[in-house]
């Protein structure tokens, strides 16, 4: 072993208590850092999972258009069109099959599904419940929204074989006292009334949605709107990674010439809340690591002060400034290295413990997982910060003037 590291090693062992305290500080700091950041990933995954049960990564639809004059006027001229209105246009997507094929050609796209949304009233004797009937292709919809996982009664698959079937939220079923096999009457916004058979009941994580949403076959939705089989109000697109959606949406908009809205844009408020959560957790976990670094800094500073005679002797007998720096940064890195390993063990223990805690509701078990990237991040951060915490006192030690010590 190099003599510098031998000396570093001796200093570490001659001061076991202080070394142990410093190591413990790093264990706690890095452990909590990895744990909190893994938790953050878990939270994001869990909230994304429940969000993507209701919305797709990207929604392609025809936005309302405001009437525009044929001749564009310069700003100071008298406008040709005053008080323009939405052009009375159907919001159907023209030639949806071809558009869907075009979208599927994009490499990152995994699922594409047509959808027809119908605003409707569920009729219950004299009372009416306002609701949304979503016309889907049951198989594709299941792949996209994982509807089958939310079914509490009946079988979602049977919707496909029954054109007059409907799958309703548990809120509607409770309010209207409906069981599997019962008939449900509804009136669409276009005045079409249908009587549909309840095939299954779902319960999502959102009681609000359970009270107004239902699924029917796409052909039924089209007939509720008194439209033909080519009438599609939106195309839903899923990608391999939700994070890619904001990048892909403009591309899809360009290909299709329709509006493409990614999930982040559609849920800005929620995204802001996520961002805040991320900032708070990052800030707190970084502060904890920093406190651990202060521990190392303190202890090494004390070591430098108490070993100032040793440092003077070492410099006198031929140790260079960088040798002294190595002696002290090696101590910091040893403390950091052991601390980081301990921190990883601690994070693993805490995560294992929490993973088995049942929270209930839609979440189930505590949404935290072992995140290798966060372990790597924590380890790197730990080593960088301990290096810096060691380097500052080491630099001070390297600048010790031996003559001034010997003259005392």
């Amino acid at each position: 072993m190099n003599i510098n590291y031998q000396i570093a090693n001796t200093y570490l062992w001659s001061n076991k208590k202080m070394t142990a305290v410093a190591v413990f500080g790093v264990v706690l700091g890095i452990g909590i850092y990895i744990f909190m950041n893994s938790l953050l990933v878990g939270f994001d995954k869990s909230s994304n999972d429940s969000m993507f049960k209701n919305i797709a990564h990207i929604r392609v639809f025809r936005d309302d258009e405001i009437a525009r004059p044929l001749i564009s006027s310069t700003s100071d001229a008298t406008p040709i069109l005053i008080n323009p209105k939405v052009v009375p246009n159907s919001n159907t997507i023209i030639n949806p099959k071809r558009i869907m094929q075009e979208i599927l050609k994009i490499e990152e796209v995994t699922h594409v599904m047509p959808q027809v949304n119908v605003n409707a009233f569920y009729l219950n004797g004299k009372s009416q419940i306002n609701g949304l009937v979503v016309g889907v292709e049951p198989e594709a919809a299941n792949q996209m929204y994982q509807i089958e996982k939310t079914i509490v009664k009946g079988d979602f698959k049977s919707l496909k074989s029954n054109p007059n079937g409907i799958v309703i939220g548990i809120g509607i079923a409770d309010k209207m006292n409906l069981k599997i096999g019962d008939m449900l009457s509804l009136t669409s916004s276009k005045g079409q009334t249908e009587s549909l058979k309840v095939m299954a009941i779902f319960q999502s994580n959102n009681a609000q949605i359970d009270k107004y949403k239902s699924y029917v076959n796409i052909s039924k939705a089209q007939s509720l709107l008194a439209e033909g089989p080519n009438y599609i109000t939106e195309i839903n697109v899923n990608t391999i990674d939700p994070e890619l959606a904001p990048k892909l949406a403009p591309q899809i908009a360009q290909i299709t010439q329709y509006t493409a809205e990614d999930w982040k844009a559609a849920n800005e408020t929620l995204m802001a809340a996520f961002k805040m959560r991320k900032i708070v957790i990052t800030f707190v976990s970084l502060t904890i690591v920093l406190v651990a670094a202060f521990g190392i800094y303190n202890i090494l500073n004390m070591t430098v002060t108490s070993k100032i005679n040793d440092i003077a002797i070492l410099k006198a007998i031929g140790f260079k400034g960088k040798d002294v720096i190595r002696i002290f940064t090696a101590q910091a890195l040893a403390i950091g290295g052991i601390g980081v390993l301990g921190g990883m063990v601690m994070a693993t223990l805490v995560i294992t413990l929490l993973r088995n805690v049942y929270i209930g509701g839609d979440i189930g078990y505590f949404p935290v997982d072992y995140e290798p990237t966060k372990y790597l991040q924590g380890a790197t951060l730990g080593m960088v910060i301990t290096f810096l915490a060691g380097y500052i006192p080491a630099k001070k030690a390297a600048n010790v003037d031996p003559v001034s010590i010997f003259r005392k």
């Binding site: 070492l314 031929g318 010997f406």
Partner: protein
């Protein structure tokens, strides 16, 4: 051949007030010489020793070691030069307390890296034996008496076979018997091995028996 040479060295202290501590010091020290630096406290002899040792670089004038000027040499290069060519014995600052006597003696050689570990250990034992400390080799140096510590420090100064050995009161903590031993070793080193010794001392006997005495007074050489 001059192993150490100074040309018109001047040094000032600025704290607390400006003070001209060394005035035009020009000396030549031959290879194999045993030189004593004497003088009253405050005469500048220790200051001169630290300049000769290359640890103090804040002066005017020129210092040549083994014929080479130390002007403009970086601190790191000076450290390497000290490691190889100069051995130190200090009066109050001896050893690294957490290491054994043997390890203390070995450290400069481990730093130099000229020999393998086993050979360094063997050499360190030899040096300790020379100073009558072979039975203390494995003791932590903090457990030794003051005189023993000083002798370990001398063994450490010898480990790399330096050209020059510098001592600040090298026998200051030793009884007359041990002083005699150290003095004889120094004498033998200079006469048999051609090493040079420069020692600051208050011990008149020690000084009288060395080859040459330089007496300092008020920052200048008296004789």
């Amino acid at each position: 051949m001059n192993i150490l040479e100074t040309k018109l060295i001047n040094k000032y202290f600025y704290e607390p007030t400006e003070f001209h501590v060394l005035k035009d010091i020009s000396i030549k020290i031959q290879k194999g010489e045993f030189l004593s630096l004497i003088g009253k406290s405050g005469s500048g002899k220790s200051t001169l020793l630290y300049i000769l040792s290359t640890m103090d670089t804040d002066y005017q004038g020129e210092l040549l070691i083994d014929g080479l000027s130390t002007k403009g040499i970086s601190n790191d290069a000076l450290a390497a030069l000290r490691n190889e060519k100069i051995g130190f014995v200090f009066q109050f600052h001896y050893l690294l307390p957490e290491f054994t006597s043997l390890q203390n003696v070995m450290i400069p050689a481990l730093k130099l890296g000229k020999w393998g570990n086993d050979e360094i250990e063997h050499r360190a034992y030899e040096k300790l034996k020379l100073l009558g400390l072979e039975d203390q080799a494995q003791k932590p140096s903090s457990k030794l008496s003051g005189g023993q510590q000083q002798r370990v420090a001398i063994a450490r100064a010898l480990i790399n076979d330096p050209l020059i050995i510098m001592g600040d009161e090298p026998t200051g903590n030793l009884d007359s018997k041990n002083t005699r031993i150290v003095f004889d070793i120094f004498k033998e080193l200079t006469e048999a091995h051609g090493q040079t010794i420069v020692a600051v001392t208050h011990d008149d006997d020690f000084a009288q028996n060395s080859h040459r005495i330089i007496e300092m007074r008020d920052g200048a050489i008296k004789s």
